[in-house]
Symmetry: C2
Subunit: 272 residues, 2 copies
């Protein structure tokens, strides 16, 4: 999906919600009447049906599928096949390797799967990410400032007057363009989001950490929303495992709609 | 495998060679008389038979299997089943995620697979690596200074008078012990290996970059070998795709034997 298509989808759906499909075997009603992959696929199909008109993106964390071995990879492909074509799909894989191995990952995750973006780790530098930036209309979502506790161990280190995550943003922004690069910045660091936005004014940010991890949607938007929105805010567990999945998704989408009305008011052309 | 068992294996086999089993579909004689997974398994089985007495470890890069989708994961498990029990097995996956997702990766790669170690990326900090350090007799191999060109983009940045990779070594060494932690340091940076060794005098180093990537075995050993050896030197393409696999492995093992004779002379008890 192109950047313009993504922005248009946000404009039309009045949402910048990304729903995390971290399908957890340990939370499934297993053993059930069907084989476990079918039970899990039924579960995620319901989440997609309840949310597809409310969100603009789905994010799939590969860890939850990889733990189920080759059957998990098969299941992941089935889940991807359930997602409607107009929704942006992010494979949250956090890959990154020497160039020729990263090329294999890019083939594995961007060429062989119906996804728009893969999350990648910047530690190994440019050649580890370049293959993810070389596919037409496909994106790399590069880790910058993550939402977890360990994000302070290295990402916040002072590197010549700037923090490491700022250097990662500055440097990695030169490897691609806002058309094929987004950055992962956790909602749990609202005080740094203004800095992030000043370094990458035009890039989309993929923002995890709202919901179970405690990040605040309004604080994120106050700091980092742009005239093109420029945000995909991810909520995983708080929607997927809510008692009422649709109500949980609506809760976030309602807040997003109000915020979008101020920065990106609906035009008559957007009404479908 | 424990650290003591690994050291004893090195002592007995007179080798610290790790053979990379990066089984590349594009280099296989496909189409052949058999289905492609069988052709690939035959190929790797031959490499293992030719090298198992000459090496102490095998390293499997998950990218080469992931690119073959769920059949690749199935193939990877078949390859792992071919490896004799006394050889140390490293899954070169370069994973790392927020704690609860990394726990899934640790289950996927350390609990569900017959492997001893998984390579992990440090960018996300302690909680992203902790699950890999919590399994008995299993190891995390943490990226410190990698062998690729992009290693200079961030790993060499000055962080308060030290380089980032030095800070990663110092900090990550406190998360585990030399019994469950090794560090990945590329052979392509021999001038930094002395610094690495001064920061982590007792840790095993997993050293890629000898062979196709141009690193020099003798320079690596001069800088970083210890009385317990403390090195696993990986060679992938230069052995796996050599015209004579066994001769290629012997070439490296011969050099290692000579080096070990000086730092770790054979004792009568080691002769089997």
């Amino acid at each position: 999906m192109t950047r313009q298509q993504l922005i248009q989808t946000i404009r039309e759906k009045r949402s910048f919600l990304c729903v995390g499909l971290d399908l957890d075997y340990d939370k499934m009603p297993i053993p059930g009447p069907k084989p476990w992959p079918d039970i899990m696929l039924d579960f995620v199909r319901n989440v997609i049906e309840q949310t597809e008109d409310l969100c603009v993106a789905y994010k799939i964390n590969t860890a939850f599928y990889e733990v189920l071995q080759y059957q998990g990879w098969d299941l992941m492909q089935s889940v991807l096949d359930e997602i409607p074509g107009e929704v942006f799909v992010i494979l949250d894989a956090k890959r990154g390797d020497v160039g020729h191995s990263s090329e294999k990952y890019a083939q594995a995750l961007l060429d062989n799967m119906p996804v728009d973006a893969v999350t990648v780790s910047p530690y190994m530098g440019r050649d580890s990410i370049a293959p993810f930036l070389s596919r037409e209309d496909k994106w790399a979502a590069i880790l910058a400032l993550t939402s977890n506790k360990g994000s302070t161990d290295f990402q916040m280190l002072d590197v010549g007057g700037k923090k490491l995550y700022e250097r990662v943003l500055e440097t990695a922004a030169t490897w691609g363009t806002p058309d094929n690069t987004m950055f992962v910045v956790g909602a749990t660091h609202p005080e740094h989001l203004k800095t992030v936005r000043s370094i990458v004014p035009d890039h989309f940010l993929l923002v995890p950490g709202v919901g179970a991890q405690g990040g605040d949607l309004k604080a994120v938007c106050d700091a980092a929303i742009t005239k093109d929105c420029g945000l995909l805010v991810n909520v995983s567990r708080s929607i997927m495992y809510a008692e009422d999945v649709r109500a949980a998704a609506k809760h976030y989408r309602q807040q997003m709609e109000e915020i979008l009305d101020t920065v990106m008011p609906p035009s008559p052309a957007d009404v479908k």
